[in-house]
């Protein structure tokens, strides 16, 4: 009966178009709400600028990020030819900040992508099949979550050895339980819905149901979590480098730059303060954008 009504609708009912009202798809509605949120737009714009500047770094500054020139070491910001000054080895700070942005932002995105990929897989299968698989996976996740998160990353680096790649792997692993739990929770409620029952009755395979019908409906909370998480991953990766467990000198990476300026705080505080400022701006932007996205996806949460 419902199908009949649906089929007849364009002929008999007055549709939104007939009334002169534009029909808006959910995606466009979310985009419209997000665009109206000026703070979130500002966050997004800052991120685009940071990414563009990082990509265009070499032609913009004209310096090699690792070119040592001790004759001009510890120049303050505003020095001729060096807008943001130079570091303890005479390397141009602006160039290193831009190149550092490439590394830090890329690590942030990569770590979130890895954590999200495995988290989604674990969440989908454990939430859908439940039973022993779910019980075992959730106990394992409980154990991972029994560690404070940086400590778990440190423990993994302790095993793999310090280095940028290992630090990225470590912070990705730490992020997996977070996504697995979000996805599992959503799947547990979605699997009981009628449209999933209907798909089963129609003979759809489990994989098709999981990836075509459940995953798209579980995406909203994942997108919000991932946006907020990129910022934290950037901080975590920089933190590992700061401790000497991530990127190693002379690489231009924000955490290692911050750490290498520690010994020059009295004479040239800008060496440490500028990369920290860069991390702060990027993390703040991801948070503004993430908060805006959350409100756009679920306006009821707005306060």
């Amino acid at each position: 009966m419902q199908t009949e009504l649906g089929r007849n609708k364009p002929h008999h009912d007055t549709s939104a178009e007939d009334l002169g009202v534009e029909r808006i798809s959910p995606k466009r509605e979310i985009w419209r709400r997000l665009k109206k949120d000026k703070i979130a737009v500002a966050g997004g714009c800052i991120l685009i600028i940071v990414v563009l500047l990082s990509i265009l770094a070499p032609p913009l500054t004209g310096y090699d990020p690792n070119a040592v020139n001790t004759a001009i070491r510890l120049q303050p910001p505003g020095s001729p030819g060096h807008l943001l000054g130079t570091d303890n080895l005479g390397r141009d700070m602006l160039t290193r900040l831009l190149f550092g942005g490439r590394v830090s932002v890329a690590i942030g995105f990569a770590a979130v992508a890895i954590a999200m990929f495995f988290g989604i897989l674990i969440g989908l299968f454990t939430g859908y099949y439940k039973g022993l698989l779910d019980a075992v996976s959730m106990r394992f996740i409980d154990i991972l979550m029994a560690f404070p998160y940086v400590l778990l990353a440190i423990a993994i680096i302790a095993a793999l050895g310090p280095g940028l790649l290992n630090a990225m792997i470590a912070i990705s692993i730490v992020g997996i339980p977070y996504y697995a739990r979000i996805v599992r929770g959503t799947v547990l409620s979605l699997r009981e819905q009628e449209y999933i029952e209907a798909q089963k009755a129609l003979g759809s395979s489990d994989l098709r149901i999981l990836f075509k019908h459940i995953l798209p409906n579980a995406l909203s909370p994942i997108i919000v979590a991932a946006t907020l998480d990129v910022g934290w991953m950037i901080i975590a990766a920089a933190g590992m480098s700061f401790l000497g467990l991530g990127a190693q000198p002379p690489m231009a990476e924000w955490g290692i730059m911050l750490s290498s300026g520690k010994d020059f705080l009295r004479v040239a505080p800008h060496i440490s303060l500028l990369p920290g400022m860069a991390i702060f701006i990027v993390v703040l932007s991801f948070n503004l954008l993430g908060d805006g996205l959350r409100d756009a996806l679920d306006p009821r949460l707005k306060q």
Binding site: L160, G161, L245, V283
Partner: protein
């Protein structure tokens, strides 16, 4: 409540066993020969053999684990390769400093975070609300290791008001002296948590303030102060306690970074130096210790949660 406490304590056993297995595996997931990594390429063959034997590396894996865990339970946590000292007493001494730092930071964070959240919620959309929430957002996004450096530069180096590193020197163990050394690292560590607590308190208070029973309390003619503190706050605190519990992990994590910046003689700096020196017994000891403490702190948070909200059913 007693039944619930016992049940929760029993549930900790598998988690602690899992934690111990993961910590044990740190040594075994390491690519290459751990003994060679620890002693370096110049190590002699007998020295390598002796270390392998000391670490039990010449036994099958499951036997190694049982031997290791039996020793841990007996209080023999092994010897630090780098510091040439027993791990357990070292860990216990250094943890005291971390506990002081973390508790102080938690105290600042909870006190000021709650206060800011309450003010924000009761004066929603006012200038105070906007200012406090802006500060909370900034505090939330500040990398703890950068904030530490900024405070060090400003209050330590530029103004010279506070010491920039270490704990109070020996012989000066007065409370005032300890406090002076504690302010900068404690505050650096507290800011992120304070911001999170403020945001959570505000949103939780706003949820509660809209409930019918608050309207009833106002209709009865109670003063706004009584409504806020006696009726709204208690219920608003329940989600805040969860956040505080989660933030303890954040504080213990942040402590590792803060200790490195301020040369605070805690367990975090011991752990990082252990990793850099590839001193596995020390690394395993410190990580196992902190993770165990964290598991128990989480249990306490859950029990406080139960005390605050008698509606929760624990069956």
């Amino acid at each position: 409540m007693l039944k619930y406490t016992i049940k929760r304590l029993l549930a900790l056993i598998p988690v602690l066993i899992g934690v111990s297995i993961l910590v044990f595996l740190i040594l075994h997931l390491t690519p290459g020969d751990p003994a060679l990594i620890m002693l370096g390429p110049k190590a002699t063959k007998p020295a390598l053999e002796a270390l392998r034997h000391q670490l039990g590396l010449d036994l099958p894996l499951h036997k190694q684990y049982f031997q290791w865990i039996a020793n841990i339970l007996k209080g023999d946590w092994g010897r630090s390769i780098q510091l040439k000292r027993e791990v357990l007493p070292l860990v216990l001494t250094r943890f005291k400093a971390t506990a002081v730092l973390t508790l102080f930071a938690a105290f600042i964070a909870v006190t000021f975070g709650l206060l800011a959240g309450i003010v924000s919620a009761t004066k929603q959309y006012s200038l105070w609300d906007r200012l406090l929430m802006f500060l909370a957002l900034v505090g939330f996004c500040l990398p703890v290791f950068w904030l530490g450096l900024v405070l060090q530069v400003f209050f330590g180096l530029k103004l010279g008001w506070l010491p920039v590193s270490g704990m109070s020197p020996p012989g000066q163990a007065g409370l005032g002296s300890v406090f002076k050394f504690l302010i900068l690292p404690g505050f650096s560590l507290a800011v992120g948590t304070m911001a999170e607590i403020a945001r959570m308190t505000r949103s939780s208070m706003l949820d509660v303030i809209r409930q019918d029973y608050i309207r009833t309390a106002r209709a009865k003619g109670l003063t706004e102060r009584v409504v806020t503190y006696s009726h709204a706050l208690r219920n608003a605190l329940i989600p805040v306690v969860t956040v505080v519990g989660m933030q303890i992990g954040f504080l213990l994590s942040g402590a590792v970074l803060v200790e490195m910046i301020f040369s605070w003689p805690g367990i975090g700096s011991l752990m990082v130096n252990g990793i850099l020196a590839r001193d596995f017994p020390l690394v395993q000891g410190t990580i196992l210790f902190v993770a165990t403490i964290y598991v128990f702190v989480n249990l306490i948070v859950d029990l406080v949660y139960a005390l605050l909200d008698p509606r929760i059913s624990y069956n």
